[in-house]
Symmetry: C2
Subunit: 382 residues, 2 copies
């Protein structure tokens, strides 16, 4: 397989963009990434997006963005893998380059959630679960997470408040990220007192509904020019598990997270402790917890102990959510995986400003969709 | 780029499957293709689907089908490119194989349209057009086709009845295809008298709403086993044009059809006249007409003359819709591109039964989405 490098990145602020539609958000991120790479004519466009059809009444989103970004007649298609869509779009674009279909491609993740009615968005998100056996019975994504966290509390004896460090860290890191949705600190007390959405999950446990787009230009080694600060995609992997949570043998083992991380570690020779940062899929604190445990950063049942010790803060043993993560940078679902990868690239280029992990040379990003039914994991190095 | 071959095919009957959901239809096609290929553990699953979110309330369809077909933990993602989704999924799976991500992959196209209310399906289909400037103003896909056919009649002086041979041929070919939705002949008189949907388009001009799934196993040359009857994917290409019809300089030139066909002809050295069959995107007779002209099978403005002479019938100069096409085999939108490719493979394997194009060795399939805003074209040979 040909080596593939990140040659440019772009991202819109994450927020409530009432004045911008899919085409404006997508084109802005694509153009910024192309300007960053100084690339004129990429050969393919892969668009990660989940809710275009359900919430925006817009499929054929890849064509819409090829048109809006002035890239026609570029080949373009949409990649959907629930909340892992953005990461999967980067993998799809990389495969197009690795296959030799083109030498340079663009991946963009995009989601526009705030135009829909709140009920439409909740129903749209629930389409990532099993419609026949979960969503149609009223089981929302917050409720599914609540089942997982309840079980975790039962098995480990921990309390709801023990999950606070993940949210507190994410908000602290977002303060200095000008693209972030929430640029304010929260305390452990704020977390504990936040209104309950689905017991024991409170508002400050969950990533917010928002709009945004992030883009990555990928290319071959031969496409690297002197002005580039290339980041090598050292490995990537994707996997699936049962779409229904009820079918899982063990709802506290995120098999797709563990499997894809193991594939990436095998392919690169990296060990968890050797990574300088890990952009985890922190849609809910329980997902971060289970991901860290499944990937082997910490033993099962011990993530909260390490979180309490500051292990996952910038400067700690495994920095996570270095720009605020899904929790505070924000979670425009089909875009989040692309934001994670943009952030890894900025860290490895040494351009993370006040969010910089000092001397970062190896990073991993992981997107998880459908409560652990699908995941894609990338490792990067400079 | 590594050569990629079709090693197995599968398809469900196209129809109104009130008793089958996405998981049953998709798993049936996947398992049939895997049984045909005698492949046990493919490395990736690409799912072409358009309306899962809008009409079925089900995204994360690739995970659903990986689960239903017993393929977990296979990596899987959905590919959406409007009505070209099925063809694009085959291209995506081929790229994964060509890249070396795996040696054998499965592509499946699937759509389940008959469960939705008629209005939901029409609104769902309209999401492939420009929601802001077309769909939200009530411009349906039939209406967009009506604009194109009106313009064609204006420029060429032809009548509505002159488009009949395409529909008559499609129905004639579907009679002997046990997977087809409509297995009855129609006459030119039937076509002329069919109730008008959007003037001048009548019921017998348009492809039907239906359910179905078709799957293709693709693999490397090294994956070919003695029991296979491999069909080589000689080339494939995809392209985009403006999503809004109003933005096109010339609504009678299907640029994406012409461009992708030219790329495929360039890559293979094939000439239009050397193809033994062409599975065209006959969602409406005007689209078949414009595709044949844009691809260079006939000069602009002359497709209907050649149709009247039987050129596009089996045994004619360029057989189209050899198993009934979108018009009569049926058009489960995200699946149609995969059905076309399955049919090409059956023709080139000499297994088309009463639908066989004698001595077929070279075939082309073309899927078009969003009224010419996106297309993917494949050429095959044995």
């Amino acid at each position: 397989m040909r080596d593939v490098f990140i040659l440019g990145v772009g991202q819109t602020p994450v927020g409530e963009h009432w004045d911008l539609g899919l085409r404006e958000l997508g084109a802005a991120a694509i153009r910024e990434a192309m300007d960053d790479a100084q690339v004129e004519r990429p050969g393919a466009l892969c668009v990660g997006n989940m809710l275009g059809g359900c919430v925006n009444g817009q499929e054929n989103v890849a064509t819409l963005l090829a048109d809006a970004a002035g890239l026609m007649p570029i080949e373009a298609w949409k990649v959907e893998a629930a909340c892992a869509s953005g990461g999967m779009a980067v993998r799809a674009a990389s495969l197009a380059v690795a296959a030799g279909a083109c030498d340079v491609a663009v991946a963009v993740g995009i989601e526009k959630m705030t135009d829909g009615a709140a009920g439409d968005v909740a129903a749209g998100l629930a389409t990532a679960s099993d419609q026949d056996y979960e969503a149609s019975h009223g089981l929302s994504f917050v409720a599914l997470s609540a089942l997982m966290i309840q079980r975790y509390m039962h098995e480990t004896g921990c309390d709801r408040e023990d999950f606070a460090p993940f949210a507190v860290n994410a908000h602290a890191n977002a303060v200095t990220n000008e693209k972030a949705r929430f640029r304010h600190r929260i305390s452990e007390d704020d977390f504990a007192r936040s209104p309950v959405v689905a017991a024991p999950i409170g508002v400050l446990d969950a990533a917010p509904v928002c709009d945004g787009a992030a883009a990555v230009v990928v290319g071959t080694k031969e496409a690297i020019r002197p002005h580039h600060r290339p980041v090598r995609i050292a490995a990537s992997a994707a996997a699936t598990d049962t779409i229904s949570l009820a079918e899982r043998g063990d709802i506290l083992h995120l098999g797709v997270a563990g499997r894809t991380a193991a594939q990436v570690f095998d392919a690169t020779g990296f060990k968890p402790a050797e990574l300088d940062l890990f952009e985890a899929h922190d849609a809910f604190t329980i997902i971060t917890t289970l991901s860290l445990e499944a990937c082997g950063f910490v033993p099962r049942g011990e993530a909260l102990k390490h979180a309490a010790n500051g292990c996952f803060q910038t400067g700690g043993c495994v920095p996570v959510a270095t720009f605020g993560g899904l929790k505070a940078r924000g979670h425009p679902v089909g875009a989040s995986g692309a934001y994670q990868i943009v952030e890894c690239a900025l860290q490895l280029r040494g351009e993370a400003g006040e969010n910089q992990v000092k001397g970062a040379q190896r990073a991993m990003a992981q997107s998880i969709g459908g409560h652990g039914s699908v995941a894609v994991t990338h490792a990067f190095e400079v």
